[in-house]
C-alpha cells in the first residue's frame, strides 16, 4: 500500500532533460518507479535514455502515456507554471522538488491545484518513497526498508537521518514523505497523517517538525481528535534565534509564533511522544 504513490503510479518528469531531472529520473527508474514520460518544452519528440518519450506538454504525456503523477525539477522561475500545467492536464499527484519558488506564486498555485482536484507535495521537498515499491523525488532509496512506520517531515536530510536511524534499528517504513520547508506547501502534516491513518500497512507515525508556522500545532490537534495509531514527534530548531530564517524559507520564528517550545508543548499536550534527539524516536516508537 503506502500512501500517495505505489504500483499504479505512472510518472511524468517535468524538466527531465535538466541536470537534476535527468539524474534523479535514472535513480527513480533504478528504484523501480514507472517513469512513463518526460516533459521539456521545445524538446518534444526526443527520447530520454533511449526509453522514456519526451513531450512538449504534460497534456501530451497524459494523453499518450497515461501519466497520473508528476515530479517537477524545473528552475524556480518556472516551477509555478509547471504545477499549473500538471494540474490542468489532470495529473492527480504533483511533487515539486524545486527550491526557491516565490511565495506569491504559491499563493495562486494552491487554490488552483485544489480546484482541479489534484494533490501537490512541496515545493522545496525531497518527495516521497514507499519502500520496495516506488520512489518519486530525491530521497535516497538505499536507506529505507519496508515496514510499519510512516514518516512525515518538513525537512530533507533530517528525514534521511531519521529514516536511517529507524532502518539501523531494524524498524522499516510504510512510506516516507518530505512535505517541504517552505511557508506555503501543498500537502501538510494533517493530510499525511490522515493518509497514514487510512493505510492498513502503517502501524505508527513519526512526525518531524521544525520552527515556523503552526502546522505542527494543527497536526497535534488532529492526532488527538482523529487518529487511532500512535504518533511520535521531533521538532528541530530549539536553539534557533527568533526572526532569522533558518535555511528553509518557512523555518522562522515570527514574533512569538512558531517556536519549538510551543510546538513541543502542543505535541505533548495532545499525547504525541516527543523525542529530545532524533535517535530517541526509535525508542519512543518501540514503546508504543
Amino acid at each position: 500500500m503506502g500512501i500517495f504513490i505505489g504500483d499504479d503510479t505512472r510518472l511524468v518528469v517535468q524538466g527531465i532533460t535538466g541536470r537534476d531531472g535527468s539524474f534523479h529520473t535514472r535513480q527513480m527508474m533504478e528504484y523501480g518507479t514507472r517513469v512513463v514520460a518526460g516533459v521539456t518544452p521545445g524538446k518534444g519528440g526526443r527520447t530520454f535514455d533511449g526509453g522514456v518519450p519526451v513531450f512538449d506538454t504534460v497534456e501530451e504525456a497524459v494523453a499518450e502515456r497515461g501519466a497520473n503523477t508528476s515530479v517537477i525539477y524545473v528552475p524556480a522561475r518556472f516551477a509555478a507554471d509547471a504545477v499549473f500545467e500538471a494540474a490542468d492536464a489532470g495529473i492527480a499527484l504533483i511533487v515539486c522538488i524545486t527550491e526557491g519558488v516565490p511565495v506569491g506564486d504559491m499563493l495562486r498555485v494552491l487554490p488552483y491545484v485544489r480546484e482541479k482536484g489534484a494533490r501537490l507535495i512541496g515545493p522545496n521537498c525531497p518527495g516521497l518513497i514507499v519502500p520496495g515499491r516506488c520512489k518519486v523525488g530525491i530521497l535516497p532509496g538505499q536507506i529505507v526498508r519496508e515496514g510499519p512506520v510512516g514518516i512525515v517531515s518538513r525537512s530533507g536530510t533530517l528525514t534521511y537521518e531519521v529514516i536511517f536511524q529507524f532502518t539501523r534499528a531494524g524498524i522499516g517504513q510504510s512510506a516516507c514523505v518530505g512535505i517541504g520547508g517552505d511557508p506555503l506547501i501543498g500537502t501538510d502534516f494533517v493530510d499525511c497523517l490522515a493518509a497514514f491513518e487510512a493505510d492498513p500497512e502503517t502501524e505508527a507515525v513519526a512526525v518531524i517538525g521544525e520552527i515556523g508556522g503552526t502546522d505542527e500545532q494543527v497536526a497535534a490537534e488532529y492526532v488527538s481528535r482523529e487518529m487511532s495509531k500512535p504518533v511520535v514527534g521531533f521538532i528541530a530548531g530549539q536553539t534557533a534565534p527568533p526572526g532569522r530564517r533558518m535555511g528553509h524559507a518557512g523555518a522562522i520564528i515570527s514574533g512569538s509564533e512558531g517556536t519549538a517550545e510551543e510546538k513541543i508543548r502542543a505535541f505533548e499536550s495532545h499525547g504525541i511522544g516527543v523525542a529530545r534527539r532524533p535517535a530517541d524516536l526509535v525508542g519512543l516508537i518501540r514503546d508504543r
Partner: protein
C-alpha cells in the same frame, strides 16, 4: 530580505501613498542641513534592520537644526541589537490627531495575504493583539481576486468614523497592497498611520520585508539590499550560496540541509555545548562550498571546535571529504575538527579523509558529543 525604512518609504510613495517628505543623512552635518531645509522641528530616526529602535534610543525629536545635528551625532554609530547605525532619516515632525496601524503579512495558516488594521497605532501590533484584540480588524485577500474594493472600504471604516478619513485610509490600504504585491513582500507595515489636525491621513513609518525567492524577477527591489547593514560573514556566506547565521556559542557547525543543521545545533545544546552558528551547505556537491564554509567558521574567533555533520543524498560524501582536504591544506584550522559522514559515497569519503589523517564517524550523536567535548564544554 530586510529593507530600510527610507527605502520602504520610497516604494510607498511610488505607489501613491502619502508619505511626508524626509531626507537620509549619514553624518550629523547632513542631518543638520536637512533639518534646516525643513524649517520646524524634526524627527531623527536610526535606519537599521532591527525592531525596537525606539526603545533603544534610535528615534529622537529635535526642535532646531543644531539639535538635529546633535541627535544624529548620538544615533549614528550606536549599536541596536548588535547592528551599527550608519544612516538616519530626518523628517519634519508631524502634528498628530490620532495614530493607527496598517499591516499586510503572509498568513501561512490561511494561505493568504492578510491585512490587519488597528486604531491603536504607534505601538507593537503583537502587544495590541494580546491586550485588546477587538481593536484589530483582519481581512484575508483571496489571491485569485486580489484585494477587493469593499475590503479596503470596510478596513477604512473600521479605523475612522469620519467618512473623509475612512476614504483616505481605504485608498492607502489599497495602494499598500499594490506595493506589497509588486515588491514581492511578505510584510508591509505603516505604523503609525496618522491623521493630522487638517484631517489628512499619512504614513509616518514604513516597513517591508521581501521574499528572497522573488528577487530574481524584481531587480529594482534586489538592489535595495544594504549589505553594510548586515553581518559581513552572513553576506559572504550568501555570496557563496551558503545559508549561514552567526550565533554566540563556540561549536562551529557545518551541515547539509537546514532541518539537519537545526537538529545538529539542538544536539550540541543537548550535549551541553553552544552552537557558534547555523550553516547549511545545501544539496550541492561542490567542494568549493565546503572550503567557503570552513573559512567562515574558522574566521569566527569564538569557535573552539568544528563539527561536520553530512548525510549524503544529493550531496556526495567524497565531494565533502575533498572539500575538507582542500580547505585544510590551504589554511590552518587551529581548532579540532570532528566529522560525521554517512550516505551517498560514504566509503570513498571516509577513505579520502583517512588518507589525510581525519577520522570520520557514522553516528550523529557520537560526533556531536565528541565535538562538544573538544570545545571544552559538556
Amino acid at each position: 530580505m530586510n529593507i530600510h525604512e527610507y527605502q520602504a518609504r520610497e516604494i510607498f510613495a511610488r505607489h501613491g501613498i502619502p508619505v511626508p517628505e524626509a531626507e537620509i543623512a549619514a553624518t550629523a552635518e547632513e542631518a543638520r542641513a536637512a533639518a534646516e531645509r525643513f524649517g520646524g522641528p524634526v524627527v531623527v530616526k536610526a535606519q537599521v534592520h532591527a525592531g525596537g529602535r525606539g526603545k533603544a534610543g534610535g528615534v529622537k525629536l529635535a526642535d532646531t537644526p543644531a539639535e538635529a545635528g546633535d541627535r544624529a551625532e548620538a544615533i549614528l554609530g550606536m549599536e541596536i541589537k548588535g547592528i551599527e547605525v550608519r544612516q538616519v532619516l530626518v523628517a519634519p515632525a508631524e502634528d498628530i490627531a490620532s495614530e493607527a496601524y496598517v499591516g499586510i503579512v503572509l498568513d501561512r495558516a490561511r494561505r493568504a495575504d492578510t491585512i490587519m488594521v488597528s486604531s491603536e497605532g504607534g505601538v507593537d501590533i503583537e502587544e495590541v493583539a494580546a491586550t485588546m484584540p477587538e481593536a484589530i480588524r483582519k481581512v484575508a485577500v483571496d489571491p485569485r481576486y486580489g484585494l477587493l474594493a469593499h475590503q479596503a472600504a470596510l478596513l477604512g471604516h473600521h479605523l475612522y468614523d469620519d467618512p473623509g478619513a475612512a476614504r483616505q485610509a481605504s485608498s492607502i490600504i489599497a495602494k499598500l497592497y499594490e506595493a506589497y504585491r509588486a515588491s514581492g513582500a511578505t510584510l508591509a507595515e505603516i505604523n503609525p498611520m496618522i491623521v493630522n489636525p487638517a484631517g489628512e491621513v499619512k504614513a509616518i513609518d514604513a516597513k517591508m520585508n521581501i521574499d528572497d525567492n522573488a528577487l530574481f524577477r524584481l531587480p529594482e527591489i534586489a538592489v535595495l539590499r544594504d549589505t553594510e547593514a548586515e553581518n559581513p560573514a552572513e553576506v559572504r556566506a550568501r555570496e557563496a550560496e551558503l545559508s549561514y547565521i552567526q550565533l554566540d556559542g563556540n561549536v562551529g557547525c557545518c551541515v547539509n540541509g537546514a532541518g539537519l543543521a537545526m537538529a545538529t545545533m539542538d544536539l550540541v545544546k543537548y550535549y551541553g555545548g553552544e552552537p557558534a552558528n547555523f550553516l547549511d551547505i545545501g544539496g550541492s556537491s561542490n567542494p568549493d562550498k565546503v572550503v567557503a564554509a570552513l573559512e567562515l567558521i574558522t574566521e569566527d574567533p569564538k569557535v573552539d571546535s568544528i563539527l561536520f555533520n553530512i548525510f549524503g543524498g544529493i550531496t556526495r560524501c567524497d565531494d565533502v571529504a575533498n572539500g575538507i582536504v582542500e580547505a585544510t591544506s590551504r589554511m590552518e584550522l587551529g581548532v579540532p575538527i570532528t566529522i560525521r559522514l554517512t550516505g551517498t559515497n560514504e566509503e570513498e569519503g571516509v577513505a579520502i579523509l583517512a588518507s589525510r589523517g581525519f577520522e570520520a564517524m557514522v553516528d550523529m550523536d557520537r560526533a556531536v558529543e565528541t565535538a562538544v567535548g573538544r570545545a571544552g564544554g559538556g
